[in-house]
């Protein structure tokens, strides 16, 4: 798989349910970030987790990082219609200045 691949590619759930998205990567990373993109708009930063952290929370978001498996998950609890968007993970490697984005998960919340 390529650096930063999310699964599933698309996810539809009922409002109020929890949504889980996964990301896998290949390199040794400095940190991993999650971004949201509403249709046709820019990327909005959600949360950053560093390589020495295992779990992080921000409001209804929970991110985990397993560096041994080179994977991360994003959990959105109690989903709302406004959460409908594409979600991307992005990895930052040591020693360079770029983020490598994944393929994204398109999340649809059904009211």
């Amino acid at each position: 798989s390529q650096q930063g691949e999310e699964d599933p590619q698309a996810l539809s759930i009922q409002e109020g349910e929890n949504a889980t998205m996964n990301c896998s990567y290949k390199t040794s990373i400095n940190n991993l970030q999650w971004y949201r993109q509403n249709s046709g708009r820019g990327l909005v930063h959600l949360i950053l987790i560093r390589s020495n952290e295992r779990e992080k929370h921000s409001g209804r978001l929970r991110v985990t990082l397993d560096t041994s498996k080179k994977s991360s998950s994003l959990l959105i609890t109690a989903s709302r219609a406004a959460d409908t968007a594409s979600y991307f993970c992005a990895t930052a490697d040591f020693g360079n200045e770029k983020l490598t984005f994944g393929t994204g998960t398109r999340l649809t919340i059904i009211p």
Partner: protein, 115 residues
């Protein structure tokens, strides 16, 4: 909250023409970036800029591309002779002081269509 602003939101150009995409990063930020997203594909890194010079660039960022910070507030991406495959959404981003050790703030993008 401070925002990264990009102009224009849409740009249509003929193949072979030069285009300049403009960005105003957040005022106290030190790191600046351009990314692009071809329709239906991943967001791809183009270039990073720090201390008035390119700090890193990707293979995509060939001699047809250049960046400039002409006046301390604007950050521009120039494509010298556009190709059909340059059609994409171009995003500018900035970060305060830690580069990719911190979150990036993205603009809303410029949709470039090369005909």
């Amino acid at each position: 909250e401070p925002e990264v602003t990009q102009t224009p939101s849409h740009q249509v150009t003929q193949m072979g023409q030069e285009v300049i995409l403009r960005c105003v990063p957040i005022s106290n930020h030190l790191y600046f970036y351009w990314y692009r997203q071809i329709l239906g594909q991943k967001v791809e890194f183009l270039v990073s800029f720090y201390n008035n010079e390119i700090s890193e660039k990707s293979e995509i960022f060939d001699d047809q591309f250049s960046v400039e910070r002409p006046d301390g507030s604007n950050f521009t991406l120039k494509i010298r002779s556009t190709k059909l495959e340059d059609s994409a959404m171009y995003f500018c981003a900035s970060s305060p002081s830690g580069g990719t050790n911190e979150k990036l703030f993205f603009g809303s993008g410029t949709q470039l269509s090369v005909l």
